[in-house]
Symmetry: C2
Subunit: 164 residues, 2 copies
């Protein structure tokens, strides 16, 4: 592979830890509530809301599908808040992130989710736009609502290509 | 029906407005983002987080199913924060709420969701525990994480019966 080709990795909490949190109801529940009838997987994400007059909000995103190989020509980040994406169905999606390299994205990494996994990007983490692999996929999004400039975008002169 | 029998209603934003918000990707999107490929249904819920040292958190709940007729013998409320429930699949669930009547739940109302609908109970709103109609249903929950007493429960001497 050339140096602008990125191979997909499976999404795991350990691999994703530098970028944020993986949301999943896996393993033993943190609490069992409602008279033993409900498992609670508790407080899975660091929901970050920075700046005066800001708060966490809930939105729904419904996106067109992407296909592999995927041409990655833009990444973005939100300096003032985290952003969580949880799919409302079992279809996997692509999670593309990059370490910061002097105020621009470094070499990206790309993850394919397993059914039931979502992610929470921490504040300031470079990521791709929402990239589901099925059309019309809907996601619950928890992110910062408030004043201030909370979006930085970088367009790549030479796009990366994500391969499956 | 006797006065302890409650008939299910369809969940609509108007009917639910006294109790909280309906979460759904319906109608025209509030914004179209990501180069026209993604609909954003923006800021659908009033996420309420009251008290010192508290914040919004994301959890996942996985619950056993209930069946109709459903015997409602307990309601609860969270005075310090809202609590949102969004199903991660299409199966409907029961949403049971009640107006306050002098510090106790008044006569409950019960709603059956349509596929793709979730709810956000506002702070202090009496509601039933999570009652999916299919086993193992998983929900994303956004609620208050923090110190303080944020749970009141009332057990009914004479249970209500929710009928379909």
């Amino acid at each position: 592979m050339d140096d602008h080709t990125i191979a997909l990795e499976p999404l795991t909490a350990a691999a994703f830890a530098p970028f944020g949190d993986v949301l999943a109801a896996r393993g033993a529940a943190d609490m069992v509530i409602n008279g033993g009838l409900c498992d609670r997987f508790h407080d899975l994400a660091d929901v970050q809301v920075l700046g005066e007059g800001a708060r966490a909000g809930i939105s729904l995103f419904r996106s067109r599908a992407r296909t592999l190989p995927y041409r990655l020509d833009l990444m973005e980040r939100h300096p003032l808040g985290s952003q969580a994406f949880m799919p409302l169905g079992p279809a996997p999606f692509l999670v593309i992130v990059a370490p910061d390299a002097g105020g621009r994205p470094g070499r990206p990494r790309a993850f394919r989710t397993a059914p039931g996994q979502g992610v929470n990007y921490h504040a300031g983490v470079w990521h791709g736009v929402l990239t589901p692999l099925v059309d019309g996929a809907t996601f619950l999004v928890v992110d910062r609502i408030g004043p201030g400039e909370n979006l930085e975008e970088v367009v790549f002169e030479t796009p990366y290509v994500i391969v499956g």
